[in-house]
């Protein structure tokens, strides 16, 4: 049993650590604009280079999401 667990741990170390996220094709407007649905967990960089924000982690406060352009 102990050997089995050790193999599992070793396999965990050797396997790729990154899990491929869902495909971009899944990002349809409905995912972002359907009332009653959960806002998807999307991680995008900030325009000021100060890291990234994952929308799925913004809980606990109400959120106003605004898509806009400076043009």
């Amino acid at each position: 049993m102990a050997l089995h667990v050790a193999w599992l741990l070793l396999a965990g170390l050797l396997l790729p650590q990154e899990v491929a996220p869902a495909r971009p094709e899944d990002l349809t407007p409905a995912s972002w604009n359907t009332e009653g649905e959960l806002l998807p967990a999307v991680e995008l960089p900030r325009i000021d280079g100060r890291g990234t924000v994952n929308l799925g982690e913004l809980r606990g406060r109400k959120l106003l999401l605004i898509h806009f352009a400076s043009w």
Binding site: P21, L39, A41, V42, L44, F68, W71
Partner: protein, 475 residues
């Protein structure tokens, strides 16, 4: 500061509301300058590849404290009742079972994808890496290749994304001669397939003719810089200078030829630079009226971009006039002036690419499906001219040179609904290869002190004349 932001800011400061902005612009630094100018202190995210799928802006979404979308696209006229009272004025119950949101694009994880990846995953990684590193990404050639591969058999959005990658490389140190044209072609190809995708249409219009513009895109930049400097702050520096297309006012008028332009080298006396010192690039952006069922202008128009990119070791002399473009478009074309100055390199810009762009009205031609029995309009036209510039070699020797310009304009066939991208050319059509085979013509070399034919006004690198018309939905 926008009125709506003033209204909700107390809620943000009280901790009851958070705001996240998302922009799909090609250049995030422009949105960052706007953010600095307007004092927008909420995070703004960058989605240049359109991963959100949002096709038009502005677009607002109100999400409750549990992550549930409560109002999609709140009506501006109902802001007080719908948003302030109906959304902010109440608490929402949590759903049972702690629902987990679907995980979509994760930029950091996608950038680290390894191994034998599918075409889609290579494209996903490319988008992530380009979003994190921008035009200076060390691996940008591989990322652009990945996006181009995904676009070959992919959806229209894959073609749009390939165009975004190509435009990024154009803005960086690894630019290739045809990057700008290929990006415009890729966007056109995507728009041909999805003519209602307004973000894509805007991306083309940004570098297209003023006849095609709903409004000036970045005319606010000059005012913003002045306001920010007046506050004692340093404005965000823009990576890519604004071209005339981006700051041009929208117009319904075709260019009117102004008299007085004197051809600077009518007898071909200036020595040719066969591309050894400066790489000449060009790109053509057609009016997007050629896409879709509506005809908005009685004649076609386009914007021609000409880029002079110094080779390794070559620099622009700071004390010389900027380069000039002379264009002889031929019968049926209209343009404001055949003589167009390039942007001045400016102090510190001795090694940067210089851009000139101008608008032309094409000869009258069909923009709608013609009578099936009628012959199709000409598919191509060629614009000819030349550029003159002073350039310094690595040893400090400065010379005055000429390069010939030959830009092929490819019109889509309105009966087939194809796009310029379907006949997109490789690098050779827009730069290096076109310059091969040209010979030095043996005329006496002139340095910049021997000129005197032209004294073009210095082109503004950036800036504009007033505040943009904002507030209307960009749909």
């Amino acid at each position: 500061m926008p009125v709506w932001y003033e209204r909700v800011r107390p809620l943000v400061e009280a901790g009851a509301l958070q705001i996240i902005g998302i922009v799909q612009e090609q250049h995030p630094d422009r949105a960052q300058l706007y953010q600095q100018w307007k004092g927008l202190d909420f995070p703004i995210l960058w989605d240049p590849f359109g991963l959100s799928g949002v096709e038009a802006v502005p677009d607002l979404t109100a999400v409750d404290e549990h992550g549930v979308i409560r109002i999609a696209r709140p009506a501006p006229k109902l802001f007080e009742t719908q948003f302030m009272e109906g959304f902010m004025g109440r608490s929402f119950e949590a759903s049972e079972g702690e629902p987990v949101p679907a995980t979509f694009f994760q930029v950091n994880a996608s950038a680290r994808l390894r191994g034998d990846l599918s075409t889609e995953d290579r494209a996903r990684r490319a988008m992530a890496r380009l979003m994190l590193a921008g035009p200076t990404a060390r691996t940008i050639d591989g990322e652009v290749d990945a996006l181009a591969s995904a676009a070959v058999e992919g959806q229209p959005r894959d073609r749009f994304r390939a165009g975004v990658g190509l435009r990024m490389r154009f803005d960086g140190p690894q630019a290739r001669a045809a990057d700008l044209q290929r990006s415009i072609d890729a966007w056109f190809s995507a728009l041909m397939a999805s003519p209602n995708q307004y973000i894509w249409r805007r991306r083309i219009q940004q570098w297209g003719p003023a006849l095609d513009k709903p409004y000036a895109f970045y005319d606010w930049v000059g005012v913003a810089r002045a306001d920010i400097q007046a506050r004692g702050e340093r404005p965000v520096r823009l990576l890519a200078s604004l071209s005339g297309a981006e700051r041009a006012q929208s117009s319904r008028a075709v260019p009117v030829l102004r008299s007085g332009a004197v051809e600077p080298d009518p007898e071909d006396r200036i020595t040719l630079d066969s591309g050894r010192l400066v790489r000449l690039e060009h790109a053509v952006a057609l009016n997007t009226a050629v896409v879709g069922p509506r005809i908005r202008v009685p004649r076609g128009s386009l914007r021609l971009h000409v880029v002079l990119r110094p080779r390794q070791g070559a620099t622009w002399p700071v004390d010389a006039d900027p380069p000039v473009l002379w264009l002889e478009p031929g019968e049926g074309w209209l343009l404001a002036s055949s003589l167009v100055p390039f942007q001045a390199p400016g102090v510190g810009g001795e090694g940067r690419p210089l851009i000139a762009d101008l608008e032309l009205s094409t000869p009258l031609r069909m923009l709608a499906p013609p009578d099936p029995s009628a012959p199709p309009p000409a598919a191509t036209a060629t614009l000819r001219g030349y550029v003159l510039y002073s350039v310094c070699e690595a040893d400090g020797t400065c010379v005055f040179r000429r390069q010939e310009l030959e830009a092929v304009v490819r019109f889509p066939d309105p009966r087939r609904g194809d796009s310029p991208a379907d006949e997109a050319q490789g690098d050779e059509a827009h730069g290096d290869e076109a310059q091969r085979g040209e010979t030095q013509r043996g005329e006496a070399q002139r340095d910049e002190t021997q000129r005197g034919e032209t004294q073009p006004d210095k082109a503004q690198a950036d800036g504009g004349d007033g505040e943009s018309q904002k507030g209307g939905a960009d749909r």
